[in-house]
Symmetry: C2
Subunit: 252 residues, 2 copies
DNA sequence: GCTCCCGCCTGCCGCTGCGTGAGGGTCAAG
DNA sequence: CTTGACCCTCACGCAGCGGCAGGCGGGAGC
């Protein structure tokens, strides 16, 4: 009916140090001590430990566990809900990190300099200096900006003007298409999407259909991209996204 | 072209303290100081910070970031792959926690004592003492064991023997069904599944069809349950799972 | 020139949840 | 009586900063 720390530790799958720690912080103090000062845990202590480990599994901080267990008025359901929210937030964040890293791996596999389309993003308000200022402004909330300067440095002013001209031209035409009510899955819109892909391929890196649809999804998922396209014409982000998908499917 | 800590902090979206920290650990030391000892960051420092924040976003520990950035021989792609693995592991774990907590919320909403079917799990090798030992052995890796003792304490030895008898009886019959080649979605198997549900309802808690299919899925998903049923008869876990689903669908 | 306030500096403690000793008693077995 | 396995209590260390305290520096307004 009474157990030593070691026994409890083995049985519960935790370390002795952990039990010491729980004792220190008052989360789980053994109900007694032997004359030699050895901790003696009884069955009630084990039950409590069970509860503690349960909540720990669910990601509760130890202090909160103490509160939940010790306060009989505490509403476990409310705690669970709150914890659920916290966890789902963390989960979402982790998922984003995973996709971000997958994107980075994808790019590095194709050995393009990482995320050149971030450079592409900036087309709207182009000018070498404005761009640099812009880039610095944005650093805080952008993940994958890196290496773009290295790549950029290979292009001269001439090149940039040309890229911008091509891009603007393409932009005007797709906006016109959209404005005139041509559906996003029409041959014309798909052709425009294809042009978009080729601009990327010509100036930045071989852009497969798969990567292209990946970019398209990013235009909707990443608010920075969305904002860029929406600022050209409302609805353009979604329109372009659909056209790119349609184009990719028809060519596959 | 030169910035103070405060400026860099604002632009990069980090705190001054963070920059101090990065300086302390040698991750990012400003290229110079003013005569008064003020840190002065230049554009190269900003570039480096950009890289640092990028890798930090991806969840790399700071020390590793130092290594990646400082060692030109380091293979970023390899690091990315490793990090991807780490992240997916954490992701899986978090997902499990979320579903576990959802289960707990579900249970608490129906105000049953949490996860009594964990008790059910133990039926196979039943005996009060063996059970306690078993339970203690397993604590370490079980999430939702809690409260079961409290519930259990309401039953006497008599009750347990009776529950075990009923359960064993049911077990023998469903094994016989499976052995004789009766399909899992046959009326007989479904009836057996229904009996299973009623045993739970009678002795533990009102088990709805929805909860029942939830349990069924757990029998396949949770290796402890799977092992239990497979030890009775190979294939039983899957057979029971299918029968429960068929039964739930037909009664809905 | 003087005063203000804001921003910068360098310590240094605090948080989470223990890991990992150090240095020393205790207990059952041989 | 000795051994080896346990037990005890400090107490530092980790990651990644947050948030003080106490003390200069610098530019603006009087």
């Amino acid at each position: 009916m009474a157990y030593t720390v070691g026994q409890v530790a083995r049985v519960a799958g935790v370390t002795v140090r952990t039990l010491h720690h729980y004792d220190e912080i008052g989360l789980l103090s053994p109900s007694g001590r032997t004359s030699a000062g050895y901790r003696r845990y009884d069955d009630a202590d084990l039950q409590r430990l069970q509860l503690v480990l349960y909540y720990r599994e669910l990601g509760f901080p130890l202090e909160e566990i103490t509160a939940i267990i010790d306060d009989p008025a505490a509403d476990p359901a409310a705690h669970l809900r709150r914890q659920h929210e916290l966890l789902t937030v963390r989960l979402k964040r982790l998922q984003e990190m995973v996709t971000a890293i997958e994107f980075a791996m994808e790019a590095s596999k194709m050995n393009i300099q990482l995320t050149p389309e971030e450079r592409f993003e900036v087309f709207g308000d182009f000018s070498p200096e404005a761009h640099e200022a812009e880039a610095e402004q944005r650093w805080g909330d952008t993940d994958a900006y890196r290496e773009s300067n290295r790549r950029a440095s290979r292009y001269g002013k001439e090149d940039w003007l040309r890229i911008k001209a091509e891009n603007d031209d393409w932009g005007r035409r797709i906006v016109a298409l959209m404005a005139s009510g041509v559906p996003a899955d029409s041959p014309e819109a798909m052709e425009s999407a294809e042009e978009h892909r080729q601009i990327i391929s010509r100036w930045f890196y071989e852009c497969s259909y798969e990567m292209h649809t990946g970019l398209a999804d990013m235009y909707l998922a990443d608010e920075r991209f969305t904002a860029h396209y929406e600022s050209i014409a409302p609805g353009l982000a979604a329109y372009l996204n659909e056209a790119i998908h349609a184009n990719a499917i028809s060519r596959a």
